[in-house]
């Protein structure tokens, strides 16, 4: 016997309108009216926004579900990439959300004037990827990323808003295909979302790719958003961005097309990987499609169509976003090879090899920091540019590891070692730092231990590599 739909107590309508008072807040003008909710400005010390779901027989049944979903998720999210939840009303009596209002719409403006220059695109892309990463780190998948749902703070931090369709991996999912509700926004929705898969964080990578595509070309990847463009993403390949913009670098085309792969497993696993590649184009593998300037030919189209027939999108045992991040770590290898003995170099390599084998999706940035002292020292000895020499030394050190270019990049930065290493780790969302302990205790006493300072202040795990000394005494 099927369960009969339950009768619910009639809800009181929310008296939220311009001029009304809610708690101690005065409701301002109506800012926006969407299909499921109304947004009002609220006058308070800080700029706030009041979100009230549309309830009743004239409005979709899913609007309360979307509202409750957003409330549950915002209650659990933290950090600068999410609007602060100031207060909320009782779900049964007076549902509302009082949220921090973030005015900046840098991304939407850039999309409106797209194509944008390469530096702007990279900057926006990296900041947007960082926000998506912050969400996935907290086990939330947005599932409706589009330029209107991305706001920006005065300091440039991107903030993702509107969690009505979002999915929290550790909460029961309230959304129901039975409502026939929207699964996302037409121009940006991932193919698996059309099959009601809501548990794959790589759906957000697809939307990220669609936004990068727009920024790069001023076009949508599958043409104007309509029913046909929805279907097209299941059976066809997107037009390569270089068809619209010939001067686009191949590496950027490769990043965008990889984000827009039909199968989630063919896309980048994490948003931080996208950010890393946008920052380090040399890591992007040079493929044939990266150079393509023509729409896909008949053979490619036929192949894409044929594979779509057998394509299955499984919502079963999906990896949680946080787990996916853990299995694709970005590892920072701090190298100071000039002061490194051969056994110590080998010990560092062993540490990297262990990580590269145990986490096959890991990728590494080898970073050498040139301090002011080192710079002076090199200059005094009349040697050439320290950057190039250090890059070459690092590459030589890494050769026995046989890691492909895509998994290892080499960087030389100038500055105070501890601050530079920590700054890089924070900026590039590094998951683990491998650093050598300074060999000479006299030197360590004089200069202080870089590894100890990094270990104490790092935003992530730190492995300090040391060669055994006790057996040599």
């Amino acid at each position: 016997m099927a369960a009969a739909p339950r009768k619910r107590a009639p809800r009181r309508s929310v008296a939220a309108r311009h001029g009304a008072t809610l708690r101690r807040y005065r409701v301002g003008r109506l800012l926006h009216e969407g299909g499921m909710a109304r947004l009002y400005a609220v006058q308070a010390k800080q700029s706030l926004i009041l979100k009230v779901p549309k309830l009743g027989p004239d409005h979709p049944a899913s609007s309360l579900v979307a509202f409750e979903n957003e409330l549950r998720i915002l209650e659990r999210l933290r950090g600068p990439h999410v609007p602060k939840l100031v207060a909320s009303g009782d779900l049964r009596r007076q549902p509302y959300l009082l949220l921090e209002r973030i005015e900046g719409n840098e991304l939407a403006q850039a999309v409106a004037r797209a194509p944008v220059d390469l530096d702007t695109l990279r900057d926006l892309g990296i900041r947007l990827s960082r926000a998506v990463q912050a969400l996935h780190h907290q086990n939330v998948i947005h599932l409706d990323l589009n330029p209107d749902n991305v706001r920006s703070r005065a300091d440039g931090t991107m903030v993702l808003i509107d969690y009505g369709l979002a999915h929290h991996a550790v909460l029961p999912d309230l959304h129901d295909a039975a409502f026939g509700e929207e699964q996302g926004t037409t121009g940006y929705i991932a193919p698996e979302q059309l099959h009601h898969v809501r548990s794959d964080s790589r759906s957000d990578i697809y939307a990220l790719g669609a936004m990068l595509y727009q920024l790069a070309t001023g076009h949508y990847p599958f043409g104007r958003p309509n029913l046909l463009s929805l279907k097209r993403r299941l059976v066809a390949l997107p037009v390569p961005p270089r068809v619209h913009r010939h001067d686009l670098p191949p590496w950027l085309q490769e990043i965008i097309l990889r984000c827009l792969e039909t199968k989630p497993e063919d896309r980048y696993a994490t948003a931080k990987r996208v950010a890393h590649l946008l920052a380090h184009p040399s890591c992007v593998p040079d493929t044939r499609r990266a150079h393509r300037r023509k729409p896909p030919g008949i053979v490619s189209r036929a192949r894409a169509w044929a594979s779509s027939i057998f394509q299955k999108f499984d919502d079963g045992e999906a990896q949680r976003p946080h787990q996916r991040l853990a299995t694709s770590p970005h590892v920072l290898v701090a190298l100071n090879l000039a002061r490194c003995s051969e056994p110590h170099k080998e010990a560092m390599r062993r540490a990297v090899r262990r990580m590269s084998v145990s986490e096959p999706k890991s990728y590494f940035t080898c970073l050498s920091v040139v301090s002011a002292q080192d710079m002076e020292h090199t200059r005094e000895r009349g040697q050439g540019a320290p950057d190039i020499a250090r890059q070459l030394t690092m590459r030589h050190w890494a050769q026995p590891l046989h890691l492909p270019e895509a998994r290892m990049v080499f960087q030389v930065l100038t500055g105070e070692p501890v601050a530079t290493l920590l700054g890089y780790a924070r900026r590039h969302l590094v998951d683990q730092i491998i650093i050598g302990a300074r060999g000479s205790s006299a030197l360590r006493q004089h200069l202080g231990s870089v590894s100890a300072a990094v270990a104490a202040q790092a935003p992530c795990s730190v492995t300090v590599v040391r060669t055994r000394r006790d057996t040599l005494k």
Binding site: E68, L91, V170, L171, P172
Partner: protein, 244 residues
């Protein structure tokens, strides 16, 4: 009200003690036991004594508790002998507690049953969607707490009448939506069967409308030794070490 919901203790005193201590730390003021207090384990008397001492205890009848007073054959090797052995240990006060426990109770927004709110005496193992729907149809309560299967799980019926299941993370509260209805299997205190040796129980916070499944490690080696010493089936002890 913060209520600790225990089920399928199966005379495992160490597991029960660990769960009760944990529940008190969580601020539980009320307790419910969804049946199968006895069978398998070697500590029926101290287990029932501890249960009787718990504040605001709601007792529900389980199939092992019922079988104690019947001569029926249970399809698990060694379990009839275990129940007969248990019967010899118990005092009238323990028998009263088990014999008078109801099959199903509804209090406020919650229903409590051992196997299902639908035909509770059939002792069905609720795994299939139609069984969950039958259980939901048998009560008006928003949430029904069950045990019997020995695996913690949250089943829920969405506002659009879709039945889903959610495997809850231990220690993380699952909010109960006003738009959904729930069947929560709280798992087993004394004989967990999901490959995890830790005891399983739930805390239901009726004000916050949240359920949290907790997994509590306990000294299962001592429990296993007691089972062997009492001459009960060695398999009952082995299962504790495997969590299966």
């Amino acid at each position: 009200m913060r209520q600790a919901i225990l089920s399928d203790i199966h005379s495992n005193l160490e597991a029960l003690q660990a769960c009760v201590a944990h529940a008190r730390e969580q601020g539980a003021t009320h307790f419910a036991c969804l049946g199968d207090c006895v069978g398998y384990g070697a500590d029926p008397v101290p287990t029932l004594d501890l249960l009787r001492s718990l504040p605001h205890l709601l007792m529900i009848r389980g199939n092992h508790d019922e079988a104690l007073f019947l001569d029926e054959v249970i399809d698990v090797p060694g379990i009839r002998e275990s129940l007969d052995w248990t019967g010899i240990q118990l005092a009238p006060v323990h028998c009263d507690l088990l014999e008078h426990a109801p099959y199903v109770v509804t209090l406020g927004e919650a229903t409590y049953a051992h196997a299902s709110a639908h035909e509770p005496q059939a002792w069905d193992y609720l795994r299939r969607p139609e069984q969950i729907r039958d259980c939901l149809a048998a009560t008006d309560a928003r949430v029904t707490f069950i045990g019997h299967v020995h695996v913690p799980m949250v089943f829920y019926l969405t506002a659009g009448d879709t039945l889903r299941e959610h495997s809850p993370d231990p220690g993380l509260p699952v909010p109960l939506s006003p738009s959904c209805r729930y069947v929560v299997n709280v798992g087993s205190v004394g004989q967990p069967r999901d490959g995890n040796t830790a005891a399983s129980y739930a805390v239901y916070d009726s004000e916050r409308a949240e359920v949290t499944i907790h997994r509590v490690p306990y000294d299962y080696w001592s429990t296993a030794e007691k089972i062997l010493k009492a001459g009960l089936s060695a398999r009952f002890a082995e299962r504790l070490l495997e969590g299966q």
